[in-house]
Amino acid sequence: MLNRIWQLIIKEFIQLFRDRLMAPFVLLGPLTELLMIAWSTSQGIDHLPTAVLDLDQSNASRGLITAMVNSETFDPYFVASFDEITEEIDRGRALVAWTIPRGFQTQLLDLSGDAPAVQVIVDGADVVAAQTAAEVAQGVVASYGQQVAVQSSPAAAGLFPLDVSLRVWFNEEMKESNYMIPSELGFIAAAITAMVASMAIARERELGTLEQLMVTPLRSVELVIGKSVMAVALGYTEFLLMLGMVVWLFDVPMRGSYPLLMVLALLYMLVELGWGLMISAVARTQMQALLIAFAVIMVMIIFSGYAFPVETMPRFMQIIANFFPLKHWLVVFRSILLKGAGVSVFWRELLAIAGLGAAIYTGTVLLLRRRRLQ
Amino acid sequence: MTSRLIIETDQLARAFGDVVAVDGLCLQVRPGEIFGLVGPDGAGKTTTIRLLAAIMDPTGGSARVAGFDTVTEPEPIKRRIGYMAQRFNLYGDLSVWENLNFFADVFEVAGSERRERIERLLNFARLTEFRDRRAAHLSGGMQKKLALACTLIHTPEIIFLDEPTTGVDPVSRREFWGILTDLHLEGITLVISTPYMDEAERCSRVGLMYQGSLVVCDTPERVKAMTRGELIALWPSDPRRAKDILARHGEVLEVQTYGDQLRLFVRDAGSAMGWIDTALAAHGVEVLEMRPTRPRMEEAFISLIQGRMASEGS
């Protein structure tokens, strides 16, 4: 049995490297892609192009604009009329627009009257940027207001009797990239493995070589194992390359144990690959495999927590998310990277991954067996 | 050579990296011939046909097909030829009729002519009753006939067939050759590669390819005449030992084995019939049957290849 599997593995590798484009594509493609993506996310949501309509032209309004610039979230440029603001936002040139009203300084310094109003318009069509802009704008306005108030009336100093001291753990500088890049890495490695594996059996079926394999004494289990090794080898190499890149190039901290991470990553790869093999067992042609894999991968990306933490999703989605190994893996992966955690922290996730793996593999072998009988 | 040539190659060569598939091939085909390309696997038959069909560029030399150069003027060639690849290359998910219809479109066969021709080809290939069946669901022989029908849709002047009958049962094979003969009688030039020697005998001329070049190129009769000496068919009780014994004999030029049968090329068949019996009996091998016979393409082929290999080895 071992020999048969070994022969199959060799055949897979020969086929892979025979195609001169395939190997570099599979190995370098995702790596370059991660490089680009990580690069783009490491910048985070800041320096949003911001149209400013300053109708007051006073020291106070300029002070507010300086505070805005200092937040590094806004990159202001001036416009002369409200119509221009509409135009800039409609065309997508500005994502935020501030309007400072006439009389801003006067109202601000007169503590007995009403507070001056600053209008901030965000482009709701781009909700991620809009939300950040809205939250940061609140902070900028509040702290600038307090600063002015304290300066103008020393008595107001006691108005803010609670001092909040902040301590951030695990990702001390709160770098967006420390969260995003591991997600992207996990996703890309998973997607590549699943994609390569999903083609594996479908390809043999389409080209008619599966028939040939089926008449040999090779059993379904052996076929599945033989096919897996190559995809896992690919996925794992990919993972190590990407991990190296992420740690060296993007300064993502690695606080946990390398051996632990390596072992768990291999386990996880095996499970992720099961997904691909399952698709492969169902699909009759490579086209079908592609289309199914696309849908699965897109759903996977949702549960990677890349865009939104899974905890904020509707209840039903949270339940579904548990069926995707990626969700559990990212908890493990981030815990090791950022928190330096050990198995005692994430044993539940590991158990879930192992359980899913067992279920997926059993399903695949059963599916292959049934298809053969048809 | 009285008539002009329809295919002519000059030192045609094609290499794939270090492997030379076709090496300085000089080939001449006259209009209306059935030209057979024979040779062992890997001799370069498929590459030659692809080069002639203008779907592959040579790495050396040149070829003219129907008066056009295959590198600089491939499109006029493609309008005048039909090409049937070795692998089944029709659309499996399209029906017989849809496949024919598609190629009729591609070759711009239109109107009543197209309807008439499709009917005639379906009839000709005996596929009329299968016209709505998907090509993938046809038997191997029917697939080949459909592929041939598709290459005939535009009444080409030349048809290239790359091992068209490989993997086809004898009855279908016979039928297929019936169709080819009809085409030949219509005056179409056929270039066909085949591993079967009986098919080679049906050709007007055969070219024997070995390691990318032509060893011989002549009519089947003359090719067969190229063998040395006379041929004896022999059924000994122990073919293996008999072969060893006879191969050492000075009178024997060459021994070939066909199952239980040995075929011996000897200088003189008449005298050999006498001494073979005794020579074998001396080693305890009995002669079950023995008779003089005429060489077939197969013996000629093996003899020529072995001769070539021997001359290269020395």
Binding site: L111, D126, I292 | -
Partner: protein, 376 residues
């Protein structure tokens, strides 16, 4: 160019698409399916962040502060740890994202008019969630503090509403309540619409792999005809799923379609043309379907999701990334789709992006036709 031949390839291709019923259904429905799931996942817009409070003061005021913290939907009080080591456990396991530590003497300090101190410990792993927690804890704290000092304000002759020295009037245009679905679904259309392009690149690679291309190039069919014949059916299949996507968004997720539907369809067609050109360009080099799939997945799926401006606005990318994103059709289509769908703008505002799409399509199509050789 012979139109009959183009038509014949198109018809054949259409047969291929529709004959394999499973693939056809997947091709038409997978965009919608993905849209539905992703849309649903994004449909909760309030992030309720789980927090813990370590109350070391255990006074009346600390309990009032605690009540203030859990008074809105934005923060959910999940745990009341009793010690600092428990706080560490909670954060390590990710059970809470932040813990507020109310020190001993909290009430005493406040009552005495001294500045009290609370400490917030945050799990910075996910900075956006962490930031959300910090901001909400901060504003609750300010609010609580203001209530405590109301009497002192009166003495100073400052009205309570001046606690916020500047009033911020925040308005989100096009999407007043900043719903994620409003912004995400139109952008996702750009990603799911690359499915037909991926299928097209596979279609050409399949002919090569199965050997049917060999038969095809031995015929007088022109390469332009062949490419055009491949392109159109898949574009058509893609165009058919556009109304499905719009319908899903409008009826499934209650989005308003603000722009002109015909313009949307027309620009979708231009977008499909651009993606198909790239896809076919890839498949010239792909000897097998596997290579075609890997390449188109890397280009359409990864770039599509991460670099198209779906999450990080195009305007924020660095010059080099901008260049890559600029060559990538989805980037432009995300802006166009949001523009028409959400903002209701017309061709005037979108002409730059539309021209870019046409340019990308034409350039890659030209390269494809030039580099496709009718040879083995």
């Amino acid at each position: 160019m012979n139109w009959r031949r183009v038509l014949s390839i198109m018809r054949k291709e259409w047969w291929h698409i529709t004959r394999d019923r499973a693939s056809f259904v997947l091709l038409m429905l997978s965009p919608v399916l993905v849209l539905v799931t992703m849309g649903y996942a994004f449909s909760v817009d309030i992030k309720d962040v789980k927090i813990g409070v370590l109350d070391q003061d255990l006074s009346q005021l600390s309990r009032a502060y605690l009540a203030q913290l859990s008074s809105s939907g934005a923060l959910r009080l999940e745990a009341l740890p009793a010690s600092l080591s428990e706080v560490e456990q909670l954060l390590m396991r990710g059970q809470v994202k932040a813990v507020v530590v109310i020190p001993r003497g909290f009430e005493r300090d406040l009552k005495a008019g001294r500045t009290g101190a609370v400490q917030v410990v945050v799990d910075g792993t996910d900075p956006s969630t962490a930031g959300h927690a910090i901001r909400h804890i901060g504003s609750h704290t300010e609010h609580f503090a203001a209530q405590q000092v109301g009497d002192r304000l009166a003495r100073l002759g400052i009205s309570l509403n001046r606690l916020e020295p500047i009033e911020l009037r925040l308005r989100a245009w096009y999407n007043p309540s900043l719903r994620y679905t409003v912004s995400m679904i139109p952008a996702l259309v750009g990603i799911v619409l690359s499915v037909p392009a991926m299928a097209a690149s596979l279609a050409l690679a399949r002919e090569r792999e199965l050997g049917t291309l060999e038969g095809l190039i031995a015929t007088p069919i022109g390469r332009t005809e062949l490419i055009a014949g491949k392109l159109v059916p898949y574009m058509l299949a893609g165009l058919l799923s556009v109304p499905l996507c719009v319908a899903t968004a409008v009826y499934g997720y209650n989005l308003d379609f603000h722009g002109n539907l015909w313009l949307y369809l027309a620009l979708s067609a231009v977008f499909l043309f651009a993606t198909m050109s790239i896809a076919l360009f890839i498949s010239i080099f792909a000897k097998s379907q596997q290579v075609a799939i890997m390449a188109s997945m890397i280009i359409f799926l990864f770039s599509g999701f991460f670099m198209s401006g779906l999450l990080i606005p195009f305007a924020l990318m660095g010059p080099l990334l901008k260049l890559e994103a600029f060559m990538f059709p989805t980037t432009h289509f995300v802006i166009i789709s949001r523009g028409i769908f959400v903002k209701g703008v017309g061709l005037g505002e979108l002409q730059g992006y539309s021209i870019a799409l046409v340019g990308i399509g034409v350039v890659f199509m030209a390269l494809t036709v030039l580099m496709f050789k009718k040879k083995l």
